[in-house]
């Protein structure tokens, strides 16, 4: 079977080039950007990047079986691919679906080899999960190019990105979803300012990005002018799948493997209540991973994931919040410490609410599930869908 051959090939390459997963190795794992780039390049050269993507854009042209095989094999390794997750997970599939031939040829191969790192510029300070309320503008110049002005926020990887997929308002006189355009923006343009955004954990995993007369050419539009919402929906769908439908991460601090180990270290593992909580952590964690597989195999057999990607996203975020409570019981008083073995769990508890907001809040995901999967009526808040954007009440 070709998938088995592919699996063997992937395993052989990973054994030679990647770090096998162990809990200790995962704790120490801190690859530099250069190491990440070198790894991604190697991955692409070995034929292990863009597995299901067309060969004319640097992909492998293989099937979902091979992709599943790779995902299964690679779960046993620590891969320094973090900087490429956003670009390959969201902008790249969107460009493949909606981009021009030139955009695909120019960017997709370089994204696969790690030469181009991409970010996604949707969220704004006054918008939150209401992406369509965005206030960043793009105005057309006499030459047909566009000038972008405004501010984006929660941008992962902006500090080392070469390009971004940005949503900007190109017509404020039409209802809010109708006047948005998606552009490819060069993050090295002098009008782009990236500032780290420190979050509750004390880390700065995101950025604020300011655009001050950033000029992009006419051919930087992804899809059609003023049809950016359709492109955004494509990208958000890919985002929910990227964020939500991950497998059971072996080094998740709130996962069963880690919590069991810590319970045994801190001496709570004989407590009947703790044992039951651990059992439930296992059940919920594995079910979320299995649901990802159900979606994936369904898609293979011709049942598109669609809005069910929101289920994966919601289930993942809710698992994080629920497991935070469980971890307090399982770990006990050590959860109040930011030292020792349980520190990573404590930090993850602190990060939980952020994961439940990224990619659209849980409430937004619930609306999507209720409306697009179950067929319930639109939220009354959607009444402003018909009001021109420049007549809407907005957060300032």
């Amino acid at each position: 079977m070709p998938a088995d051959e592919f699996r063997a090939k992937a395993l052989a390459w990973l054994q030679e080039h990647a770090t096998p997963f162990t809990a200790e190795a995962a704790d120490r794992f801190a690859p530099t950007l250069d190491e990440s780039k070198a790894f991604q390049k190697g991955l692409a050269e070995a034929g292990l990047a863009g597995i299901t993507w067309p060969t004319e854009y640097g992909g492998q042209g293989l099937g979902e079986d091979e992709l599943i095989a790779f995902n299964e094999v690679s779960a046993d390794f620590l891969m320094p691919t973090g900087p490429f997750v956003i670009g390959l997970g969201m902008p790249a599939p969107t460009i493949l679906e909606l981009g021009t031939e030139e955009q695909k040829k120019r960017h997709i191969p370089k994204m696969l080899t790690g030469e181009e790192i991409w970010c996604q510029l949707f969220s704004e300070p006054n918008g939150g999960s209401d992406v369509a309320s965005l206030q960043t503008t793009a105005t057309r110049t006499e030459t047909g190019s566009w000038l972008i002005n405004g501010q984006k926020v929660w941008t992962s990887g902006a500090q080392f990105s070469d390009f971004g997929a940005i949503l900007a308002r190109t017509d404020p006189t039409v209802p809010r979803h109708a006047g948005i355009t998606m552009f490819i923006v060069d993050m090295h343009h002098p009008g782009v300012t990236v500032r780290p955004l420190v979050v509750a954990t004390g880390d700065a995993p995101f950025n604020e990005v300011y655009f001050d007369d950033v000029e992009v050419p006419a051919d930087a539009v992804i899809g059609e002018v003023n049809a950016g919402w359709a492109a955004a929906v494509v990208m958000l769908r890919n985002e929910r799948v990227t964020i939500g439908a991950r497998g059971r991460a072996r080094n998740n601090p709130l996962g069963f493997d880690t919590l069991r180990e810590i319970a045994s270290d801190v001496g709570t593992s004989d407590d009947p209540g703790v044992r039951r909580k651990l059992a439930m952590v296992y059940a919920r964690e594995t079910a979320a991973a299995a649901f990802g597989r159900v979606l994936h195999e369904g898609a293979l057999s011709g049942e598109p994931i669609g809005a069910r990607g929101s289920v994966g996203k919601l289930a993942g975020a809710e698992f994080g919040l629920w497991a935070s409570d469980a971890a307090e019981e399982i770990v006990g008083q050590d959860i109040a410490l930011l030292s020792g073995k349980s520190a990573k769990v404590a930090k993850m508890i602190l990060a939980g609410p952020g994961s439940a907001t990224a990619g659209g809040s849980n409430e937004i995901q619930r609306n999507i599930i209720a409306e697009r999967v179950l067929g319930l009526p639109k939220d009354p808040g959607a009444a402003d869908r018909k009001t021109p954007f420049n007549q809407l009440k907005l957060s300032k």
């Binding site: 069963f256 069991r260 319970a263 593992s269 009947p272 044992r275 039951r276 651990l278 059992a279 439930m280 296992y282 059940a283 919920r284 594995t286 079910a287 979320a288 299995a290 649901f291 597989r293 159900v294 195999e297 369904g298 057999s301 049942e303 069910r308 289920v311 919601l314 289930a315 809710e318 409430e363 995901q365 619930r366 609306n367 599930i369 209720a370 409306e371 999967v373 179950l374 067929g375 319930l376 009526p377 639109k378 939220d379 009354p380």
Partner: protein, 361 residues
């Protein structure tokens, strides 16, 4: 193996769904629930004509040699309709216990009848005051092949032709058509399940060959996935009926389903169902491939399914407002079924403890 229904399973699901809507709609379920009969003989004949009772039984014992996962597809669809049948009691619990043992005589005598639906089996494990399915039974003792003692919460016991009884020194096969066996069908919370108390007073039984511990372990796994499969189906109906209502019931000028207070509860129920469904499928796959993870996967499916169903059924009542609390509405049928399903076949704490044990915690 895949986690989605294969083409045969899709066909089976369609066939069972058609049967449910044509022969056993909720109005029929209600009529059966209020009658003296534990199930409708005509519906059971239809279920048998689809081959469900013998689906997971090997060909050599008159079955169709399918997988347990196939049978769970059928149980899921019957569960979605709350259809009363002895399928779980007979084809999963009793047949599963026989299959897990080594008693060729008992297998070749009873499995073909169970496979055809001509005989009904039941499994008697629980005893008064003990909701676990793991304890060594003390309430039924054997002396020279005669059994005495009492078993409670026996699913399908009242309609069974043969009982597999967990006694102090192993599993016994006890035919109900004999003096010394008294079966009392209990008045129960769940109007769609028949539960009995079995009193044995010098009843003759046949000690089944095989390792009783292994049989019990296997039967618990099968019970967990089968019940979770039924519950998975029932959750989908709770969500479907409630969603339909939320689309047509207006309050404050809008369908109530437009309000987040309603839609978020339904979205949460649906998300939980997705996890339940995925875990049932995982357990079905583990049973089919003979994975060493079977017990873990089965217990995981059960600890997710039972509480998720209770919640969905409770939300069904709540989101229907006053009407959902009336006798005429079907919501209470599901709520009753959910609450009973959470405690029967080993209660929730037993299941969580079992999962922890099987995970080596």
């Amino acid at each position: 193996m895949t986690l989605i229904d294969n083409p045969d399973q899709k066909d089976l699901a369609d066939a069972v769904r058609k049967l449910v809507s044509a022969r056993s709609p909720l109005s029929k379920v209600r009529a059966v629930a209020l009658s003296d009969a534990p199930y409708d003989a005509d519906v059971w004949r239809q279920v048998c004509s689809l081959g469900l009772p013998g689906l997971a039984i090997p060909e050599q014992y008159g079955g169709a040699d399918g997988t347990w996962a196939d049978l769970f597809v059928g149980l899921r669809e019957l569960g979605a309709g709350l259809v009363q049948t002895p399928l779980l009691a007979s084809s999963v619990l009793a047949a599963g216990a026989l299959l897990a043992g080594d008693d060729e005589d008992a297998k070749s005598t009873w499995l073909p009848k169970i496979a055809e639906g001509k005989a009904i089996g039941a499994l008697a494990i629980s005893e008064e005051g003990d909701a676990t399915w793991g304890a060594q039974p003390a309430g039924v003792t054997a002396t020279d092949g005669t059994l005495s003692g009492t078993k409670v919460a026996v699913l399908g016991g009242a309609e069974a032709d043969v009982l597999i009884v967990h006694a102090s020194d192993g599993f016994y096969l006890v035919e109900t058509d004999q003096p010394g066996v008294t079966v009392t069908r209990e008045e129960v919370l769940d109007l769609t399940r028949s539960v009995a108390t079995v009193t044995l007073d010098g009843a003759s039984g046949r000690l089944l060959a095989g390792d009783a511990g292994a049989v019990l372990d296997r039967v618990i796994d099968l019970a967990n996935v089968a019940l979770a499969a039924e519950q998975s189906g029932a959750i989908t109906t709770c969500i479907k009926i409630t969603t339909e209502y939320a689309n047509i019931r207006y309050s404050f000028g809008l369908p109530i389903g437009a309000y987040q207070g309603v839609k978020h509860k339904l979205a949460d129920d649906y998300t939980e169902w997705c996890l339940v469904d995925a875990s049932v499928r995982t357990a079905g796959e583990a049973l089919t491939t003979g994975s060493s993870e079977v017990s873990v996967a089965a217990a995981a499916a059960r600890v997710l399914a039972s509480p998720a169903y209770t919640r969905a059924a409770k939300n069904m009542m709540l989101l229907h407002g006053g009407i959902g609390f009336t006798w005429e509405h079907d919501a209470h049928l599901f709520y009753r079924n959910a609450v009973a399903g959470n405690v029967l076949l080993g209660g929730p704490l037993f299941q969580q403890d079992r999962l922890a044990d099987k995970l080596g915690v």
